[in-house]
């Protein structure tokens, strides 16, 4: 991918770093989802491509060259318009990259009307028309709505779980272990494992007394139906399974491009349904990844992934010492990791992002990285709390 990007030559500098390689968000927001499209093309998402796949990837990026150069030009225009409007909110790459690429696809390279168009796009990104946390809160506060949502939750929880695996059936665990041995190479039969319902089978065990608590997903002995919720605070969120519908949605909603009440209603309904499903996640691929994460969180010797996650903590001792942060223990890291993974998978589901086999290792590694960085911040805070 790096070689293919370098081969694009001039015109993509705004999307590239000092060595001409793609920026982190260029890869995350443009190349992966819009050019490579790993869900449709899993063979292009493997850590190590076959010769044929490497050729195909190179051709794909080269074929998108004009779009990418135009997107780079649109991004520069959008940044100019942002500056002209004295907007400082949000990361411009995060907010504009995908818009710039869409503009490039729609309009080609910027022309004489470009500033106007880029300005409208920036206005749209920063407009208040989108439904946010406050709108969600007041929507759910309506007694009629709250009653309807509570009814939807109750109906979802009353329905029997679909085709649970027989207790004691180790097949789902074997499939998960196999995925954990293969995913770092961008491989593994995620689709087959999901089709067999392995994620659900493992997830249903969380209904047993104490299981969800042990996994770090609840403080309750058995997960209970979520409340609709009237208040939510980022700094005082309960464990994932103990969160109200409001608490599950209010952080993500601002990023979801929801404009109409109909869309909002559908979002809340889906959330009510999801809360009764295994892992409280709607998609089977996400449940498989959670089951895999919960298994790998042991950081034992059993799978390639669990060894790799453990290796990250071993590196962390060295890095923290080099940063003069003391060493510190990783107590509770496994549960924190499963929670972080849940939040990320839930977020992907809200954004309708599907999961390819090539995403599994990045999701697991990314969630653990995030936990490691949180622990680092906590050590910093403790050190200076005189």
């Amino acid at each position: 991918m790096a070689d293919a990007w370098l081969a694009l030559g001039e015109g993509v500098e705004p999307l590239s770093n000092a060595a001409g390689l793609p920026l982190a968000r260029t890869t995350k927001l443009i190349i992966d989802p819009l050019v490579v499209r790993p869900v449709q093309n899993p063979h292009l998402a493997r850590a190590q491509l076959t010769a044929e796949a490497a050729v195909e990837l190179t051709e794909r990026i080269a074929a998108a060259g004009d779009d990418l150069r135009a997107a780079a030009a649109w991004f520069v225009r959008m940044k100019q318009q942002r500056r002209a409007r004295e907007i400082t909110e949000g990361n411009p790459q995060e907010k504009y990259f995908q818009r710039a690429y869409e503009l490039a696809r729609r309009q080609g390279a910027p022309d004489e009307r470009a500033d106007e168009i880029a300005g409208e796009e920036v206005d749209d990104v920063h407009s208040d028309a989108r439904i946010g946390a406050a709108d969600l809160r007041s929507y759910l506060a309506d007694p009629g709505v709250a009653e309807a949502v509570a009814g939807a939750i109750a109906r979802a929880w009353a329905a029997p779980p679909d085709d649970a695996a027989a207790p004691g059936d180790r097949a789902p665990d074997d499939a998960i272990a196999e995925l954990l041995d293969a995913c770092a190479a961008g491989e593994g039969r995620l689709d087959e494992i999901a089709a067999a319902g392995a994620g659900s089978a493992v997830g249903l065990r969380l209904a047993e007394a104490g299981a969800a608590r042990e996994a770090g997903l609840s403080d309750l002995d058995r997960p209970a139906q979520p409340a609709v919720g009237a208040t939510a605070s980022k700094n005082a969120l309960p464990k994932p399974f103990d969160r109200s519908i409001l608490e599950r949605l209010f952080v993500a909603i601002a990023t979801l491009d929801i404009v109409t009440t109909g869309e909002l209603c559908a979002l809340v309904e889906r959330q009510a349904e999801r809360s009764a499903q295994p892992w409280q996640i709607g998609g089977e691929a996400g449940r498989v990844v959670l089951a895999a994460g919960a298994r790998a969180a042991a950081m034992d010797d059993e799978t390639d992934t669990s060894r790799r996650l453990r290796a990250r903590w071993q590196r962390e001792a060295f890095v923290r010492r080099a940063q003069r942060l003391g060493t510190g223990a990783a107590d509770g890291a496994a549960a924190a990791f499963v929670r972080r993974l849940w939040v990320r998978l839930h977020g992907r589901e809200l954004r309708d992002q599907s999961i390819a086999a090539g995403d599994v290792w990045d999701l697991l590694d990314g969630a653990m990285r995030s936990v490691v960085l949180d622990y680092r911040d906590r050590v910093k805070t403790e050190m200076t709390a005189a």
Binding site: N17, A182, F318
Partner: protein, 405 residues
């Protein structure tokens, strides 16, 4: 770059020294280090396919060497027997499970062999790298720099400066300007976007820089202006407000000698021990100083008084806060910062005098778990840091160091 199979990945270049003697940069798939004394860099490649996208821009020729060594083939070829990690220098905390590495040295590689025939994978790797899979023995490092060598080195050593710079009144090592240290790190990291392990590393560095600017104020001298303008652009690019635009001329810290420990005439016992900077967070205590203690008898009984000179701060910067405690013969004495000195006192029983004879005074900070003594040679760690700092000042590799000369 030489490449060597180890239990948790591939060691490239020089092995890591003690963690307090290297600047570390966490990249996507590899952790790299540069010794603060200017020695040879190295790294641990823990995900070779990921690292292969950028590592040649930092260490040219590494992808070819990794491929030749089999790191990009999914096949372990280490011939077994290597049971250590790259980072298990004596300074690394010995978690109980790191001891298990001896058992899984081959396991990491073995576990990925099931993905297809080794021969097919080898040929893929060869094709991927343009057919240059040479025997490992020939895969020598190329010594020329890549386009990201300088920023990677600057980011890594910038982290070392922020953590381990031994500012000392006693040794005459000036404090570095925290704004410049942070700003140089921001500029270096921004060049490395797409290469870093943490996608938020640049934002984090910008927040550190904003914190330093808020604490010390702005700086408008000609030497720092291009750097600070560049950082302002980066802040704009990443949507992190830098805040403090207040312009204030910076003044080098003066070197007034710290007040020595109280020398009460009535001391029944006294002692002093050198500060060990390795067990303390940055910026608290003068690393060249000694912890002094004395016991005096007063109306209320015996009192143990402890003092130690504080580290000099950059002009206008606040001293970091920490719960610093001195430990002498089993007695803990909390210390408070008063001017240039940390000092405190505690009542002790009369029996303390016999226990304290010849006792060492150690400093600790709650929350800073330096859980084992680090192995050092005959040279005191503070002396090592100060020697490196003086050499670095003479070289003047970074703007922060040049401004501190």
């Amino acid at each position: 770059m030489s490449v060597q199979r180890i239990s948790d990945g591939w060691l490239i270049g020089a092995e890591a020294e003690e963690p307090w003697l290297v600047g570390v940069l966490e990249c996507d798939g590899a952790t790299l280090w540069w010794p603060a004394d200017g020695g040879e860099p190295g790294g641990l490649v823990w995900d070779a396919p990921r690292a292969s996208g950028w590592i040649d821009a930092v260490f040219p020729g590494t992808v070819r060497a990794l491929a030749a060594a089999g790191a990009l083939s999914g096949v372990a070829d280490d011939g077994g027997g290597q049971a250590r990690t790259a980072l298990d220098g004596p300074g690394v905390a010995g978690d109980s499970d790191t001891a298990d590495d001896a058992d899984d040295a081959g396991g990491v590689g073995d576990s990925s062999t099931g993905q297809g025939s080794g021969a097919a994978d080898d040929s893929r790797a060869a094709e991927h790298t343009g057919g240059h899979a040479e025997p490992p023995a020939d895969a020598q490092a190329e010594t020329n720099d890549g386009p990201l060598t300088a920023p990677a080195r600057a980011a890594a050593l910038g982290a070392w400066l922020a953590a381990w710079w031994p500012a000392s009144r006693i040794a005459g090592v000036a404090a570095l300007d925290p704004r410049i240290v942070a700003a140089e790190r921001v500029a270096a990291l921004a060049s490395l976007d797409g290469v870093l392990d943490d996608d938020g590393a640049i934002e984090r560095a910008l927040e550190d820089c904003a914190g330093a600017l808020a604490a010390v104020g702005g700086r408008d001298d000609a030497g720092a202006e291009p750097l600070l303008r560049r950082v302002a652009e980066i802040a704009d690019d990443y949507g992190v407000p830098l805040g403090a635009s207040a312009v204030r001329a910076a003044r080098a810290d003066d070197y007034a000698l710290a007040a020595a420990g109280e020398s009460g005439d009535a001391a029944l016992a006294r002692g002093e021990s050198r500060v060990d900077p390795l067990v303390l967070p940055a910026g608290l205590v003068d690393p060249a100083a000694a912890v002094s203690w004395s016991v005096a008898l007063g109306a209320g009984g015996a009192t143990l008084a402890v003092s130690v000179p504080a580290a000099p701060q950059f002009a206008g910067d606040e001293a970091p806060r920490a719960a610093l405690v001195a430990l002498i013969a089993g007695v803990e004495v909390p210390l408070a910062l008063a001017g240039d000195v940390w000092a405190g006192a505690a009542a002790v029983p009369a029996t303390f005098l016999s226990a304290a004879a010849g006792a060492d005074a150690a400093l600790t900070v709650a929350g800073f778990a330096a859980d084992q003594p680090e192995s050092v040679g005959d040279e005191h760690p503070a002396d090592i840091l100060i020697r490196i700092a003086r050499e670095r000042l003479a070289r003047g590799e970074s703007l922060a160091e040049r401004l501190a000369r």
